[in-house]
């Protein structure tokens, strides 16, 4: 006041710095200004304190104070033996821990599960930390190499051939089914009179297509037979496949001019495949097979949720783009697909995939039960993701696409370099929401006789050795904590990613 009022003023003593009044900062200040600053807030503070008192305290009491920590069977967790009211019965968890993690996976083979978990963590963690280098190598190892290695580690079994055999088998199978359909139509045409000639004509066409396919496939099938006849069929096949694919890559990427780098990366990839085959002995039958019916516990939960999450993204993006396509057929297909999968409960999907699909498939064609559940959840989650991604696509102004087109970028490049990166950033919360929902929805697979974490837990309730009044609560509290740890981790990481990727929105 004085400074302003006086026309000429020169400060003689500088005002020293003082701490702020106690009442406005620190704990006291917080209590005064945030908790007790009005009658309504005082009431709310009291209610909040009561709520904490009545929920957190009993929970801690149950989990820690009254809990029983040691024991070998149910007797330790009974009130008359413990001498006090019994809370959580932790010995029960430690007794059932292996079952919760591995299900009925054979004891001797559990190192394979551990190794898979370890590999997955080792590849995933550096992928999640933005500062670490070699992201594209890391990503391709995690998304392409790891699933294959994990498959052979967890399920076991080996290879009898490689690319040449697979392609040849596929083509000859296709040729056979065309020829078979042609034969059936010709026979049907001979027996019926009205549309007989028509059926006969179609039959002839199908038979011709079958012959054409087998003719085209002839070099491949003969190559397959040659490699299978050799002493090391897998290695021979791998060598031929590597040579053919690398030559193709070299040619397609511009040959002598610019094809060297792709050629080298292709050869390195095949060398990596060879190392995996050699290390795991896939050419000699690989590890002993463990049927997926024996898998269980956290293993199944993680397999289904990781595969579901990873597979649902490309499905969702493809469907979202399809739904906005200007080509009517693609758009209608996408809409129908999304609406169908969103309109059906996941339980129905799983039930259908497990018990009804085999009725429609040809007799000798079976799909593993776990794989059926995987496909079901992936498609189901994909339909949900599609709508989330579409929401992000809607938020991108038309000018972005126009500017990219005006620079000469094709539709694909515009979509994958300009539109999608922005759209996905907008919908990170929605995407992670779906991931978390999917992670917890995996517990529904227990209705199709797969024992995930929760299913294994419930199965262990029936053990009479551990039947105590608090077994049920202990079990659910423990699985709840595991689910929470994973979901909370995903949630926090998504916040971190959001902050990092939205650097451009901070001004």
């Amino acid at each position: 006041m004085t400074d302003v009022a006086m026309t000429n003023f020169v400060r003689k003593d500088l005002v020293a710095e003082r701490p702020a009044p106690v009442k406005t900062t620190g704990f006291v200040g917080f209590v005064r200004t945030r908790l007790l600053n009005s009658p309504t807030n005082i009431l709310l503070t009291i209610l909040g304190a009561l709520l904490i008192w009545f929920t957190v305290v009993p929970a801690l009491r149950f989990l820690l104070v009254d809990a029983v920590w040691h024991g070998s069977d149910r007797n330790a967790c009974l009130e008359q033996n413990a001498g006090h009211a019994v809370g959580a019965c932790w010995p029960y968890i430690s007794a059932k821990f292996d079952q919760l993690i591995y299900g009925f996976y054979p004891q001797a083979e559990r190192w394979r599960v551990n190794l898979t978990f370890l590999l997955g963590a080792l590849l995933l963690l550096p992928l999640l930390i933005p500062r670490l280098p070699a992201k594209s190598l890391n990503a391709s190892l995690f998304f392409l190499a790891f699933p294959v290695v994990a498959f052979f580690l967890l399920r076991g079994g080996g290879l009898s051939g490689f690319g040449v055999s697979w392609t040849a088998n596929l083509l000859s199978g296709l040729a056979d089914s065309f020829a078979g359909a042609g034969d059936a139509l010709i026979r049907a045409g001979a027996s019926s009179t009205a549309i007989g000639p028509l059926l006969w004509g179609f039959g002839k066409i199908f038979a011709l297509i079958g012959q054409a396919v087998s003719l085209v496939a002839w070099p491949l099938t003969s190559l397959r037979d040659a490699t299978q006849a050799s002493k090391q069929p897998v290695w021979a096949d791998l060598a031929v496949t590597a040579a053919v694919v690398s030559a193709l890559v070299f040619y397609l990427w511009g040959g002598l001019r610019s094809g060297w780098r792709p050629l080298i990366s292709s050869l390195v990839t095949f060398a990596g495949i060879a190392i995996v085959i050699a290390l795991m002995g896939l050419d000699r039958g690989g590890l002993p097979a463990v049927d997926t019916r024996l898998w269980g516990g956290l293993l199944v939960t993680l397999v289904i949720s990781v595969v579901g999450i990873v597979a649902s993204m490309p499905i969702g993006i493809a469907l979202a783009l399809g739904r906005r396509s200007t080509i009517p057929l693609i758009r209608i297909f996408s809409i129908a697909f999304i609406e169908f999968w969103r309109g059906v409960p996941l339980i129905t999907v799983l039930f259908f995939a497990t018990y009804m699909l085999p009725l429609f498939l040809p007799g000798n064609f079976t799909v593993d039960g776990l794989v059926r559940a995987l496909i079901g959840t992936a498609l189901f989650a994909g339909a949900y993701q599609a709508e989330v991604v579409r929401g992000g696509l809607q938020a991108i102004p038309r000018g972005q696409g126009e500017a990219a087109s005006a620079l000469g970028l094709s539709w694909w490049k515009t979509t994958f370099l300009i539109v999608l990166p922005q759209a996905l950033r907008h919908v990170i919360p929605g995407l992670v929401n779906s991931f978390i929902a999917l992670f917890k929805d995996t517990s529904l697979v227990s209705i199709v006789a797969l024992f995930d974490l929760l299913g294994s837990m419930r199965a262990s309730f029936s053990d009479p050795n551990w039947a105590t009044p608090t077994t049920l609560f202990t079990g659910f509290a423990f699985t709840g904590m595991i689910y929470f740890a994973f979901c909370f981790g995903m949630s926090r990481y998504s916040l971190f990613v959001e902050n990092r990727l939205n650097a451009h929105r901070r001004t």
């Binding site: 102004p397 000018g399 972005q400 126009e402 500017a403 990219a404 087109s405 005006a406 620079l407 000469g408 970028l409 094709s410 490049k413 370099l417 300009i418 990166p421 922005q422 950033r425 990727l501 650097a503 451009h504 929105r505 001004t507």
Partner: protein, 246 residues
């Protein structure tokens, strides 16, 4: 003019549904020519220049850009777009990329230029629009005038033969208009072929070789700027000029 023209438009007709937006447009743009297109809003100026790089399709007529016929089926649109740069009213920079990445994206992904070379070229053009020191910023951190200059640098980084400007200063504050116009004047002095939709009559008078006046989807009058401003022929032109040059 027609034999060395870089853009030639003949009998161009376009409809939005039943609405006839462009009517029998004939326009030839010579190499190095600067044409300003003006006219009241809704007269089809923007639609016309958006047809030149096929952001709009048209139903009748012919557009030839640097010898490439952009027929109604738009088959060779990508070839044309590579050689035609465009600057938009609302900048349309890519907000998730830095300024430098905005300028190198198309050279790298469309022209397959190595990243180092693309960055060198981009820096050259960023220097030319006088914002090289902001190359690592995101567009959202810059003023409108700076963003528009980045947009010009982005278009130039593709080494286009023609530059289209769709009301480049209409979304800017008055004091930022000048910095963008100065950049455009520099560009014109270097001999770039330019088609500019604008209401900046000072720019038209100073820089353009020809002013084209459009109304109701047709070209009403086309003349040198001296004649156009001193001696407008058509009644509609006179009315328009009297309204904007007070």
């Amino acid at each position: 003019m027609a034999e060395n023209s870089i853009v030639s438009i003949s009998h161009l007709n376009k409809w939005y549904g039943d609405f006839h937006v462009l009517r029998d447009i004939d326009l030839a743009v010579g190499k190095g020519e600067r044409i300003v297109i003006c006219g009241p809003s809704g007269s089809g100026k923007s639609t016309l220049i958006r047809c030149i790089n096929a952001l709009e399709e048209f139903q009748e007529g012919e557009i030839v850009v640097d010898g490439i016929d952009l027929g109604p089926n738009l088959r060779r649109v990508d070839e044309v777009r590579r050689d035609v740069g465009m600057v938009f009213q609302s900048f349309n920079l890519f907000p998730h990329l830095t300024v430098l990445e905005n300028c190198t994206l198309a050279p790298i992904w469309v022209r397959n230029i190595p990243q180092k070379d693309a960055e060198a070229t981009a820096m050259k053009y960023l220097e030319r629009v006088k914002i090289p020191h902001q190359a690592s910023k995101y567009p959202g951190q810059m003023s409108g005038g700076q963003q528009q200059r980045v947009a010009i640098a982005r278009a130039l980084s593709m080494n286009p033969k023609v530059m289209l400007f769709d009301e480049p200063t209409s979304a800017l504050d008055p004091e930022m208009v000048k910095e963008v116009l100065d950049t455009m004047v520099d560009l014109a002095k270097d001999g770039m072929t330019m088609l500019v939709v604008t209401h900046e009559m000072g720019f038209a008078r100073e820089v353009s070789n020809r002013v084209v006046f459009m109304d109701a989807g047709q070209i009403i009058e086309s003349n040198t700027p001296q004649e156009f401003f001193a001696n407008p022929q058509h009644a509609r032109t006179k009315l328009f000029l009297s309204q904007i040059l007070r």
